[in-house]
Amino acid sequence: MPTIIDITEDKAIEVKNFEFTYAGSDEPNLKNISMPIAKNRVTALIGPSGCGKTTLLRSFNRMHDLYPGNSYAGEILFEGRNILQEKEDMIKLRTQIGMIFQKPTAFPMSIFDNVAYGLRLKGIKNKSELADRVEKALKDAAIWKETSARLKHDANGLSGGQQQRLCIARAIAVEPEVLLFDEPTSALDPISTQGIERLIIELKEKVSILIVTHNMQQAARVSDYTGFMYLGDLIELGRTEDLFVTPCEKLTEEYITGKFG
């Protein structure tokens, strides 16, 4: 039995007996996962490569539905509903639960249009409202200073770290409840990484955050809760300081002390 902390804080999301199977896989790639995601906190997922962190993360915004044949079981409760239900409005869900990818993914358009993209999809057309919200998002993502003078320029002219902030600005512009980060700094240099980590900590005032990282130090630095995954199972979820200092599970201890991974 895994050790999952029972949190007393408000929960943004609650996962119950969740299973996920990729098309063509004979057994579930994620097995019987139950976990809370605390509201306005950072929850990190760690574990060796291939253990299912990305797969779990991409279940929260139903990214797996873009490819045929994948199947879910169990429940992911968000705002009182199970988002795995057939009738879930995927478009709306994805504006409520945003995602930042492993590599910066600036669209081939201007900086302004990148950040305005989700807003326009939501049907916001008013020029001054768009401008205000783009500015606010860029400020919240701490990239306004570098971009304010060149909003009309191609976003691909920015550095990797700047592009990743731009992607964060783009995601927060639509004011989601939850943000999913999949190893957001794995393609970045140490200075940019530090900046993104600081930003994640600031962002939790407004959103609940789930971050996948294979870097334990990063999990320790940014998160309030940490989950350790292994071979498709969630082995342990606890307060970050507890999990790293006094893990309950033998596997967790072995992993964080570097015995495997």
Binding site: M63, T105, G118, L121
Partner: protein, 287 residues
Amino acid sequence: MNRFLDRFFHLSTLSIALLTLLVTGAIFGVLLDEAKPAMDALGLSFLIDTKWAPNLEKFGALPAIVGSILSTALAMFIAVPLAIGVSIFLSEISPQIFKTPVGVSIELLAAIPSVVYGMWGLFYFVPIIRDLFGGLGIGLLTAGIVLAIMILPFMAAVTRDAMNTTPDILKESAYALGGTKWDVVKDVVIPYAKAGIIGAAILALGRAIGETMAVTFVMGNVHKIPSLITDPATSIPVALANEFTEADGALYFSSLFYLALVLFVISFVIIAFAKYAFLNRGKRAVS
């Protein structure tokens, strides 16, 4: 040893590259040389004269020039949107099981020799156009459609390849912001593949404007500027293919070379212009 190989490789590729320049130059030189008598006799008014009457030693190239441009424009007008539609279907919409068979059949269509399109056009298409629009069935419209059908598979295949290079993670990013499939195609896939799509269109344009066999049978070889889209017309390659064997007089013969020279220059100018206008400017506009 390695340095020697390197040097050998460098020299051999360089000389092949130079050879292509040399061949192009030589072709241009021969055209110029053979066209010289007609250029001296007819001057630039060759380009704007509308009368082509070899027995009267009258040679005006305008109908063939207009026919070339109109048939090509018509073909592009039909083929470009269709090719983009087909490639959007193949790269983004089609279920996986259709992608390969449909993709392969499009590549096969692209490999059919153009004379086959011409024969097919003459025997199957001409009667249909005749029934639908009246007239002879042979003319500008038929030529434009047959040309469009001929360049469509090629353009669709290249455009699809360009669209397939769009990284999944970029498309997913747009879906993750609440985009629909159409949003992703329009805002991510097409802009990302833009240079490839335009490149494909330019290559298709180059094929269409010089195409001979596909249109020879269906255009009519009438040196007259068409007043209706269904009127018979001619294009430069059609005139060349039809008339070289019967060019008896020296001026007639030389005029055909002059015509070929005009085609050479038109193709060159259009393709250079299209490259400049769409590729360079496209790049500068976003950066």
